[in-house]
Symmetry: C2
Subunit: 432 residues, 2 copies
Amino acid sequence: MKRTSRDIRTANRYGVLRQIIARSPTSRQELAAATGLSLATVATLVGELLDLGMLTEVGFEDSAGGRPRGLVAVNASGGALIGVDIAETYVRVELFDLALNVLARAREGMCPGGTLPEQVVGHVVSAVGSVVTQAGVEGARVLGVGVSVPGQVDRETGTSEYAPNWDWHDVPLLDLLAEHIAYPLHLDNPLRACAVAELWFGAARGRGDAVVVNLGTGVGAGLVLGGGLHRGVSNSAGEWGHTTLVLDGRPCHCGDRGCVETYAGAPGIMLNLRELSPDSPLLHPEDQTATIDALARAVAAGDPVAVQAVRDTARYLGAAIANLVNLLDPEVVVLSSWVAAALGEPLLREVREAVARHALKRPLAGTEIVLSPIPTDPVCLGAATFALEGALSSAVRGPAAGGPAARRAAPAARTASAPRTDPARSRTAPPA
Amino acid sequence: MKRTSRDIRTANRYGVLRQIIARSPTSRQELAAATGLSLATVATLVGELLDLGMLTEVGFEDSAGGRPRGLVAVNASGGALIGVDIAETYVRVELFDLALNVLARAREGMCPGGTLPEQVVGHVVSAVGSVVTQAGVEGARVLGVGVSVPGQVDRETGTSEYAPNWDWHDVPLLDLLAEHIAYPLHLDNPLRACAVAELWFGAARGRGDAVVVNLGTGVGAGLVLGGGLHRGVSNSAGEWGHTTLVLDGRPCHCGDRGCVETYAGAPGIMLNLRELSPDSPLLHPEDQTATIDALARAVAAGDPVAVQAVRDTARYLGAAIANLVNLLDPEVVVLSSWVAAALGEPLLREVREAVARHALKRPLAGTEIVLSPIPTDPVCLGAATFALEGALSSAVRGPAAGGPAARRAAPAARTASAPRTDPARSRTAPPA
């Protein structure tokens, strides 16, 4: 999409709030210096955020010789945000305050046969109810729920268009959830959730161009370009897991062959290990998490097969990340999600070496490769950030101003403003 | 890089001029509607462009019931721009008016042994002198010269950092040219020249996200993202030719193996043909252009080997373009440069089929694949556009306001304002 002046205003609003979350309390003058915006623009945006109750005035600081400067901070208790990470084998839900501190967590496991849409919706509804109850927040204070589901999603209609691991096609996920959850709902996928988490709170903050490489059961690359999330024309950008690395290589569930995901996703890593040692005791054929954890422990213990399996994985991953470096020339590549967290520094070292063998000198010199510094589940955090962005947009646009988030948000937010003890369990939202 | 408000003003200025070049004469009201900018912003930008002599007032049109609206048009004779396409086997130079019509052309061939920097500089200087003489423009009216050289370039210092086909390393090309050419000089590479040509004048105009796939001796992808050229942190974005398509595949001159370029660049296509038919009469081992032209004629005549060679090439190209579609989710992929022009529709048909076999359904549905509609050399046109952009930036910033183009432009422009008959031949510019 082309960037309009509305997009730019929205990006500026995000930028200011991001900076305040990173460093509170702060003055308008510091914000202007940190964001590159004019003091007048910053003052307007801060005024809007104060009006919305997202910020609070917290006193003054002396300025050398000038008038004392007013200080603002995030109003952490100004509202709550919920992030939902629907993964292949579990649903994880976290409830955050407005400074994005986790106040409550819930997790439900899913067995391989239990991933029909209505079953997944049941898990989400139950876990959302749990975090609201645990945190004891009033329903009225929940500004929104961001939901991340793997695969390709249509944000406008709230539809999971294609979730390859479960073979979901055109599941109207937000409509199903809105039958039970009265808060404003926002749908996206883990690639973009992880990218936005890094952009707001992690290694991409303050960077113009960053790639957040998501290593889990599936793999993908969330793209931060020009300081904002690059979504593409149909909100499908980032499907790096389904780019060809080995023409006519391993078969992929997407129907193609040789996709990056078949070598670098958790099942691909298990295959790398099996090719090296078919009877390895590290292999738990039905349990990706157990296998990756066992692999990580074995690498730490110096097991040569495990070390070689990580090296082989890094050989594929390094070539595929070098493709991103050569094509996009980013400032930073962030390795995120549970496989990256589990394999950690040993994987990072091997990946850096492999990227250096494949990337061109000039873009390589400009690119750092790092592990995600985010200590909690980046998908929940990113999903909650989508809810925060949605709350910012709909509040400023007003409920009648259109945009899918605003349309969905307006009636749900009105309903939720009557406090209830467990809003997640009752059907109150009008159909969207 | 992050976008600052200066970047946005510059982008808006380009957007307005682009629209006026596309559709002249036009009113400020039409411009506001076409660009999505406010009428006040458009009026300011039009005022600046009128002051610079780039636009001219051309009368009024009636508006239904309102005041007559002033019309503006490009002031074609307000200045001249020169585009230089340094390719592997030739130097082509074109001189344009401000509406980007070609006024004069020159071309110099280069033999394989004649590509030392000083030899190439000699060809450029001679061809630039020729177009200025042919067009009979005064030196003072040449607003700038855009120079495109293959490989990786540092625009700030005007250096060709790495030109793989000639094994150039850190050649200070603009400094060498400035010893002979007194006009403001701007360096970039053919990927970005072709992309900016499509953005201003071709299939990417008005599009937010477009990929311009450059098929020549080398291959690459110029990226238009968010309505502007994506350069990356070290101005190296777009090296799609050196992304891995076949891990451990054909050796590439970049030192890696299996790069897209080894299958889809002109030498790669010759190899595809040779693998199919080692003694094919279509092969001119020392002449890429002759081989590609012979292949195109044979396809038109229905020769089955030629048809199969194009199909094999499209098989590689389709997988590699599907990678771009899945990763970036663009609105349009444009096939540009001389190999695309020569193989034309038959190549396009096969590429579309191959991309459809590899790309994911959702991004594929949002992406058009087209041949470049630009009838002239897109590299010269794009290079001249860089000169136009440079003239716009330095004129508005003023000569002291920094930025590499402005720094280079200011002394050269001052020198050039004293008319000379053949400024390209005389050494007048102070060292940059």
